[in-house]
């Protein structure tokens, strides 16, 4: 089973790298790493390694990266008429599903981590007079863990959308709307809270401390990830995919 998952992941990675042609796929990745790992850190300077606000970016970047590739997972196979051949192979439902989720998560997460390290190097080179600069450990841990869970969230919801969509474009459109909902619901939800409750929440955030906030974020995101992966697992039925 694990071997089968890696087989699917390996192929998905090859396809991601060949998106729009083998060289174009790699070129896009280089540009992305250049922006996230060199350009933005140079613009932000030392704040890139010590501002808590940067954690938000490290949650958002993998979701954006995953969103760009996950819509293709099943809708792309359906559109290019490769899905039925894949379903007629000896791979189990779980191997196909987790292989596709795993490929998208690893892509989003690894590119984010590489950008994180590249950014750190860039800031250290640009501000070498300040000695060795490094993220505070809670910030570093938050970036690593939350980017993984963020990639998982985007990947699981993306697979769920892609399983139902007839075309990649349709999947991308639905996924964009889902991402907007994921982003705006908490924002507007907090604003819509009664002022007393809002004040208690704000007080809790202030007094919780960064570690407690991180753990809360991990618990919430993990719960979301598990629910969405469970939904995708329930949704994945060979016969239903063939009949669609």
């Amino acid at each position: 089973m694990i071997g089968d998952i890696f087989t699917v992941m390996r192929k998905e990675w090859k396809e991601i790298m060949a998106l729009g042609g083998a060289y174009r796929g790699r070129f896009q990745l280089v540009v992305l790493l250049g922006v996230l790992g060199i350009l933005l850190p140079l613009q932000m300077g030392v704040a890139w390694v010590n501002s808590p606000g940067v954690v938000g970016a490290w949650g958002w970047v993998p979701m954006m990266l995953v969103g760009a590739v996950i819509a293709d997972s099943f809708a792309g196979e359906r559109e290019r008429h490769t899905l039925e051949t894949l379903l007629a192979s000896r791979l189990s439902d779980a191997a196909i599903l987790f292989g596709k989720i795993g490929a998208a998560v690893s892509y989003g997460w690894l590119v984010t981590l590489v950008a994180l390290v590249l950014g750190l190097i860039t800031v250290n080179v640009a501000h070498r007079e300040q000695g060795l600069l490094f993220f505070p450990w809670t910030l570093a841990l938050s970036a690593v863990v939350l980017s993984f869970l963020g990639a998982g969230l985007a990947s699981a919801s993306g697979v769920l959308v892609s399983l139902r969509a007839q075309t990649v474009r349709q999947a991308q459109q639905t996924l964009n709307i889902a991402m907007m909902v994921l982003f705006f619901v908490p924002v507007f939800g907090v604003q819509a809270l009664p002022s007393g409750l809002k004040a208690r929440c704000a007080a809790w955030v202030v007094h919780a401390g960064s570690l407690r906030l991180l753990l809360s974020g991990i618990v919430i995101l993990t719960a979301f990830d598990l629910v969405l992966i469970g939904a995708a697992r329930a949704r994945f039925r060979r016969a239903r995919l063939i009949e669609n």
């Binding site: 087989t7 192929k11 060949a18 039925e84 051949t85 894949l86 007629a88 192979s89 000896r90 189990s92």
Partner: protein, 309 residues
């Protein structure tokens, strides 16, 4: 292990109000190339999907390589290969990458996988371009590659859904030759759907004809021709008078007579003798230049089966 690669019993599949496969009872022997003929929408592709366990039957049962399609679909997919309606190739990847992926899926050890990929691509004349993205290949080359993928893991049975559809005659003939050669070399059972009758006749030892989901005939191509069409005799000459034609029509063993000014086409029952008929024509004053024995073509049989109620 029984002698049959495929056995179905009253296999039926409905899609809402449409019955796509209707009480299909079929047996395909191991090692044979079985042609499943039928017009578009007859139920050929649905039958393959049912046999691969990709769809569940509404009623009836099917066993493939001894495995039940409902309870052991995974085992069926492990021991079979399938070239379905589309080639199913990842066109952004190279031919070698495509085959490597499926070799890994079927857990071929790396050295065997590499050797097998080279062997199949070389045999099909594709090795030289094996590293190119498949998107640059012609349709015929892609179809050959899909056949190679189907055979890669040495399955006991392969399903080929209209493998030459959309190919030009030269490419189709080349693929047919490769297919026949590979099937023989690998000793594999082939379940082939097609609406190309000459293809079925050239490749298949047994043929089943499906119409509106129902199996309407099954047998070797020669048997089908004889069973359904009888024999035909074409007589070339002159002086085929109306009285003579009438006499021929009354003659025992003669089923039909089509008369032209210089040609007679006689439909005969199996086993009937041609010599007395020629004698009758000569004594009746006709000049006979040539007598040709024909049997109905598979195409004629197919059309006959499609027109029957």
């Amino acid at each position: 292990m029984n002698d049959f690669a495929i056995q179905t019993a009253a296999l039926t599949r409905d899609f809402r109000s449409v019955r796509a496969v209707d009480a299909l009872t079929l047996e395909v022997r191991r090692g044979e190339i079985f042609g499943f003929l039928g017009p578009n929408g007859a139920g050929k592709t649905t039958t393959i999907r049912l046999l691969l366990g990709l769809l569940e039957p509404t009623s009836g049962t099917a066993a493939v390589l001894g495995y039940d399609t409902q309870s052991a679909a995974d085992a069926i997919r492990t021991h079979t290969g399938a070239l379905l309606e589309h080639t199913g190739l990842y066109e952004r990847l190279s031919a070698v990458d495509n085959l490597d992926y499926f070799g890994r899926i079927w857990r071929l050890p790396s050295s065997e996988r590499r050797a097998r990929i080279q062997d199949l691509l070389t045999h099909l004349g594709l090795w030289e371009r094996g590293q190119e993205p498949v998107v640059r290949w012609s349709r015929g080359m892609k179809q050959k590659l899909a056949v190679a993928r189907t055979l890669l893991h040495r399955p006991s049975l392969i399903f080929l859904d209209e493998p030459t559809a959309g190919l030009d005659p030269v490419a189709a003939a080349a693929l047919r030759d490769d297919l026949a050669g590979l099937a023989k070399r690998e000793g594999v059972t082939v379940f082939l759907t097609t609406h190309n009758l000459s293809e079925a006749e050239k490749l298949c030892g047994q043929i089943g004809v499906i119409r509106a989901g129902k199996l309407v005939a099954v047998g070797a191509p020669r048997e089908l021709r004889e069973r359904r069409g009888g024999r035909q005799v074409e007589v070339i000459g002159r002086g085929f008078a109306a009285e003579l034609v009438h006499t021929l029509r009354q003659h025992p063993g003669v089923r039909t007579v089509e008369a032209g000014s210089d040609r007679l086409l006689l439909g005969l029952d199996d086993g009937s003798d041609v010599a007395p008929l020629v004698g009758l024509l000569v004594h009746g004053g006709a000049e006979v230049e040539e007598v040709r024995k024909n049997t109905a073509s598979l195409e004629e049989i197919f059309l006959m089966l499609m027109e029957e109620e």
